[in-house]
């Protein structure tokens, strides 16, 4: 049985770093990066490439009053914040403090989508021992949490579309491979799999499916992690 880490491929991380992934897959990559230091480092490296390339772009002329316009917007925003009683616009984005109600240690990126208590989501049973809850995301694709009770085996299935799965807690086995928290599994319609939750706790996963990747052109297709070459 393989116990190695299953990190997202470069193409998926690069597609996120360059801004070409849709929102559900971006959510999956960011959550994965929070749980996997090596992928986080790769993401930071790729973003650093973006920074270097930005530096080297030939500057484009702005409107002459652009700086004044921006300073005015900053002043307006400051007045607005003061009126709202916001202490400081500089503060980091709101982050739930303390132990979340469901007791799960999930990255803040994902928490902003699923709230403080995942059990309060709208869960519906798929089969005995397997249930799912939709997560509201913007453009394209579909994101859900999937919960597989300990020991439950999902029957052999393939996918009509592409599917990306990220383990959040617990673990599952698929054939010889074991997927633990932070691990990513990509599957396309040809992949035939039967995951089984292992260990003593339920396996909670983030699953993104049927995501039409907003990628066009040769380089766009190149960044599509589902296209094998």
């Amino acid at each position: 049985m393989m116990m190695s880490k299953h990190s997202a491929p470069d193409e998926l991380i690069l597609a996120h770093a360059t801004g070409w992934l849709n929102e559900p897959l971006s959510l999956l990559v960011e959550t994965h990066a929070a749980l996997n230091e090596e992928s986080r480092e790769r993401l930071h490296e790729m973003e650093a490439i973006g920074g270097v390339l930005l530096d080297e772009l030939e500057p484009a002329a702005l409107r002459e009053d652009a700086l004044d316009a921006v300073l005015n917007r900053i002043d307006d925003a400051a007045l607005h914040d003061a009126a709202d009683g916001e202490p400081d616009a500089l503060a980091a984005p709101a982050r739930p403090r303390g132990v979340p109600r469901d007791g799960l240690e999930l990255p803040a990126t994902l928490r902003r989508y699923v709230g403080e208590d995942v059990s309060a989501l709208n869960w519906r049973p798929l089969m005995r021992g397997v249930s799912e809850a939709e997560i509201e995301v913007g453009d394209g694709g579909r994101a859900r949490l999937m919960r597989i009770e300990a020991g439950t085996m999902v029957p052999r299935h393939s996918h009509r579309g592409q599917e990306a799965t990220l383990v959040l807690s617990g673990a599952y086995r698929d054939g010889e491979l074991v997927f633990a928290p932070g691990d990513v599994q990509l599957a396309d319609p040809e992949v035939d799999h039967r995951p089984q939750a292992i260990g003593d706790t339920p396996c909670l996963c983030l699953v993104v499916t049927d995501a039409p990747l907003r990628l066009t052109g040769p380089v766009g297709r190149l960044l599509n992690p589902f296209i094998k070459l």
Partner: protein, 198 residues
């Protein structure tokens, strides 16, 4: 007209100066410091958006929005995680996506207590973010042009470039292997420089 003259000055904005200007914006709400950052970055952010196919009006608007975010979030800039250029790049990238979608974009929170292992200067990282940039800059210069081009395309593809790629009729596999080679070389450059330092 416009920024002809200030640009000359702005071209000399080196990374340590950029970082100290961000600190001045964060800690003293220093408008002069912000003005210097603006003159350097806003025209580049606008150029980035134009490269990606925005029209002039949209590119101007998103560049301005991105600079408002630079002001508002200056206090969250962490020089151990990213250089100012990288940080501004991610802001511009996210603003562009927000503009396209009018939706949220998932963002990694560097202070997230759930980060595993916890964030902080990685013990095995041998150089800081601005040093990493400098090494990446050198390594990008040394890439074979065909590899450098696919890296640029990955970040800046627009319709014009897709058309060029179509015209050159490069097999997808070739493009993909060039990109892999480029990433491998860039990583090797970072690692090798790190070892030299030990």
């Amino acid at each position: 007209m416009g920024f002809d003259r200030p640009m000359t000055d702005a071209l000399l904005l080196d990374p340590p100066t950029q970082a100290s200007l961000i600190r001045a914006v964060a800690e003293q709400r220093d408008r002069d410091a912000f003005g210097r950052l603006f003159r350097y970055f806003a025209p580049r952010v606008k150029a980035y958006l134009l490269r990606l196919g925005s029209d002039d009006g949209a590119a101007e608007e998103i560049a301005q929005e991105a600079m408002v975010t630079v002001w508002r979030k200056a206090g969250t800039f962490d020089p151990s995680q990213a250089s100012v250029s990288t940080w501004v790049f991610t802001i511009a990238r996210n603003k562009r996506i927000d503009g396209l979608r009018r939706t949220r974009r998932p963002e990694l929170d560097p202070e997230d207590p759930a980060l595993r292992p916890e964030a902080g200067p990685a013990a095995d990282r041998l150089f800081d973010a601005s040093q990493r940039d400098e090494r990446l800059r050198q390594a990008l210069k040394l890439l074979p042009e065909e590899q450098a081009e696919v890296v640029r395309l990955a970040f800046f593809e627009d319709k014009a470039h897709a058309a060029i790629a179509d015209e050159t009729d490069l097999p997808l596999g070739t493009v993909k292997s060039r990109l892999r080679l480029a990433l491998t070389r860039l990583r090797r450059a970072l690692a090798a420089e790190g070892i030299d330092q030990v």
